[in-house]
């Protein structure tokens, strides 16, 4: 036995064979404890990467402009200010060639609304219930944000730990780095997918897990830091990263013309282009207009010019003025969501995000198959896992269909539908004692494929025109539908016999 273990752990590996087995055991425990939630967060995160595309797909009539004249933007801001109550902060995103579509979000503690900016400066209200549902599910699992954020952050830490233990527990990592054996033993095939995708996408998966954990745990990190260093005053921690607000002066004062402010911001950030504006206390004497500019070779905005209500420059910061910590903080969200390089980067993120879903699902499948191989099968867990991994894509597809078919009524029912569907699937999978896991996976995969197929072609049926950008979304949906049913294509009688015999060995 000892010789066999030593053969499995090549010479030069930094930890002993016994420790490798112990780490592998911990890797399995952690994976099993968090598998379902890691899978859900990864799946929703993979789809959320395409939020800009989904928003356009949900609302095909939405104006998507590649550029806006400063005067037109001024009209749009004035219009938003008229529609929002006094004191509301306006967040304006300017379009670029890589990320077309200008938006304005009006936000206060009692008011929230967002619009797309049309080419003439008029505003069209956003209505994207599925995209909103999906992002909230990914970021906070639809729980109160402090709790949900913590749970998602903890999931990120569990994923980080699984990546670390996964590397330590696989001494043959490099030797087997290119082995992908398909069609033989199912356990070996799943292990090959798990290890190959896990190792070659490791830098990406590590980055996503780390940034996700940090974003989720930020509230607790700031809270504890404030307790230790600033007598519990969290505002002092935030003040290190956010410009201090001026003294309150609610006297009415018209907002200055935006165009010269944008021009001044451009002049002060050579090579940069204004990307975002934050307009606070519009219409008051203490108003502030902050213009953040992007540069091509930077992940996030590092140029900031802030103007007062009379259009005077009061703060002017550029990359050389920023602390390294501020620069890192600015890039974390961009790096996590892949919203820094246009559609090609989003597509790359989507593919490696999908790889992370496969790594998670195959990890549990390997554990289940190992149990079965050793004569200690756990059919209940096999059925439940099949319901999770194939049920979630189908349910998310169903939720998207409801949002598309009944955008007004459906918005309220997306969360109850998803929640009830998830519960029902788990319950049914638990109760079907004599049904093999494959018989649960098959109808769920077919249902998922049907949902994706409907989503891909439904805009035609609804009589909406497809903007060019939406054709890509529909093509991806079609490919996903095909991928879900691919294993069920017609096979030779010999391979079909072998497949059927494997339905009892996941």
């Amino acid at each position: 036995m000892k010789a066999s273990i030593e053969r499995e752990v090549p010479r030069g590996w930094p930890i002993s064979p016994a420790t490798v087995r112990a780490v592998l055991s911990g890797h399995g425990l952690l994976g099993l404890a968090f598998a379902a939630i890691i899978y859900l967060v990864c799946l929703t995160g993979t789809i959320a990467i395409f939020a800009p595309d989904l928003a356009r797909w949900e609302q095909p009539g939405l104006p998507v402009v590649a550029g806006l004249d400063d005067r037109v933007l001024n009209r749009a801001v004035e219009e938003a200010r008229r529609q929002a109550p006094a004191g509301t902060t306006l967040y304006v995103t300017l379009p670029t060639l890589a990320e077309p579509g200008g938006t304005i979000v009006a936000y206060s503690e009692t008011f929230e609304k967002d619009w797309a900016i049309a080419a003439d400066g008029s505003l069209v209200a956003h209505h994207m219930p599925f995209t909103d549902f999906l992002i909230d599910l990914h970021v906070a699992l639809h729980l109160p944000h402090s709790i949900g954020g913590f749970v998602v952050g903890l999931t990120g830490v569990a994923l980080l730990s699984s990546l670390i233990s996964g590397i330590l527990a696989h001494p043959r990592l490099l030797r087997d780095a290119f082995h992908l054996r398909l069609g033989g033993s199912r356990r070996l095939q799943e292990a090959d997918w798990h290890n190959r995708l896990g190792i070659w996408a490791l830098p990406f998966h590590f980055t996503i897990a780390l940034t996700g954990a940090l974003l989720g745990l930020s509230t607790i990190i700031v809270g504890v830091l404030a307790m230790l260093l600033y007598k519990g005053d969290t505002a002092q921690v935030y003040a290190l990263f956010i410009e201090r607000s001026p003294a309150v002066n609610a006297a009415p004062m018209p907002l200055p013309d935006i165009a010269p402010l944008l021009e001044e911001a451009r002049r002060r950030a050579p090579g940069g282009y204004p990307r975002q504006m934050m307009i606070e206390r519009a219409g008051q004497a203490d108003a502030r207009i902050a213009v953040a500019s992007d540069r091509d070779h930077m992940l996030a905005s590092q140029d900031m010019s802030i103007f007062d209500a009379q259009g005077r420059l009061v703060v002017d910061r550029h990359p050389q003025d920023l602390a390294v910590g501020t620069k890192i903080l600015g890039g974390i969200s961009q790096l996590h969501f892949g919203w820094f390089g246009g559609p090609l980067v989003r597509l790359g993120y989507g593919l490696l995000g999908l790889a992370l879903c496969v790594v998670t699902s195959s990890g549990v499948t390997i554990w289940l198959a190992r149990r079965r191989d050793k004569g200690r099968a756990v059919p209940l867990w096999e059925r439940l896992w099949a319901a999770v991994i194939w049920g979630q894509p189908a349910l998310l597809g169903l939720v998207a269909l409801l949002a598309l078919l009944a955008p007004e009524v459906g918005a309220r029912w997306l969360l109850p539908l998803w929640l009830a569907g998830t519960m029902a699937l788990l319950l049914v999978a638990g109760l079907l004692r004599t049904t093999p896991w494959a018989a649960i996976a098959r109808p769920l995969r077919l249902a998922g494929a049907l949902c994706f197929l409907s989503l891909a072609v439904l805009p035609l049926g609804l009589g909406t025109l497809w903007p060019a950008g939406m054709i890509g979304t529909s093509l991806v949906l079609l490919l996903l539908a095909v991928a879900l049913v691919w294993p069920y294509r017609r096979r030779s009688p010999q391979s079909e016999r072998a497949r059927v015999s494997e339905t009892t060995a996941p």
Binding site: E8, R21, A22, G26, H27, L30, L97, A98, G153, G156, V157, L160, S161, L163, S165, A169, R175, A177, F178, H179, L180, R181, L182, G183, G184, S185, R187, L197, W200, P203, T207, L210, A213, L214, V224, L225, L228, L229, Y230, V237, F241, D296, H297, M298, L299, V324, G325, I328, L329, L335, F340, G341, G342, L344, V345, G348, L352, A355, A498, R499
Partner: protein, 191 residues
């Protein structure tokens, strides 16, 4: 401009990832002898592409883009080299190590969960915030680096406590780290 640059860089990185991985594959397939030239060529190509990305698109954005596309390029080589086997019902033996298995008591499971969860978190926070409190440099940088350290340290604590069979040792180390780290950080807050 940036969108065009990314359109140009994407196939270059994909090709570099596939080329580098292709050389590594050839090096590792030959199990009878070391192939240092192929290894050097493979890793060199990947490294040069990553550095080129950093130079052309900026150190963070360029590197992020390079890592993304190089990974995809390498995975293309893995997919291209996939071996299709005839379906069989007999079990093929895996050469991978088997996890440690044995009788386990419920209290050990709960204690491990406590060590990997809450105690691991507080120990990681203690070390990270001790760094934020005492390290030299700008406070914003110290806070952000401390924040980034915390999930990594927690993840390491999880890995260690779930693998270590000596629970008393793990408890002592994590509790000691928590008390010492938070104590030192709190001293800085009082100064």
């Amino acid at each position: 401009m940036p969108v065009f640059m990314i359109v140009w860089l994407t196939p270059v990185f994909l090709a570099a990832g596939a080329g580098g991985a292709g050389l590594l594959r050839r090096a590792w397939l030959d199990r009878r002898q070391d192939r240092p030239a192929l290894l050097l060529g493979g890793w060199g190509l990947i490294l040069i592409a990553a550095l080129a990305g950093a130079l052309v698109q900026g150190p963070v954005k360029g590197l992020a883009l390079a890592v993304l596309m190089l990974s995809l390029g390498a995975l293309l080589v893995v997919l291209a080299g996939a071996v299709r086997r005839s379906p069989r019902t007999t079990r093929e033996r895996s050469l991978a190590p088997e996890p440690l298995e044995g009788p386990s008591r419920a209290w050990r499971g709960w204690l491990k969960a406590l060590l990997a969860g809450p105690l691991g978190m507080t120990a990681a926070m203690a070390v990270a915030f001790c760094y934020s409190a005492w390290a030299p440099g700008d406070p914003r940088t110290r806070i952000v680096l401390g924040g980034l350290m915390m999930p990594i340290l927690w993840g390491l604590a999880m890995t260690w406590t779930l693998a270590d069979q000596k629970l008393l040792r793990a408890t002592a180390v994590l509790a000691g780290t928590t008390i010492a780290g938070f104590g030192l950080a709190a001293v800085r807050g009082l100064l």
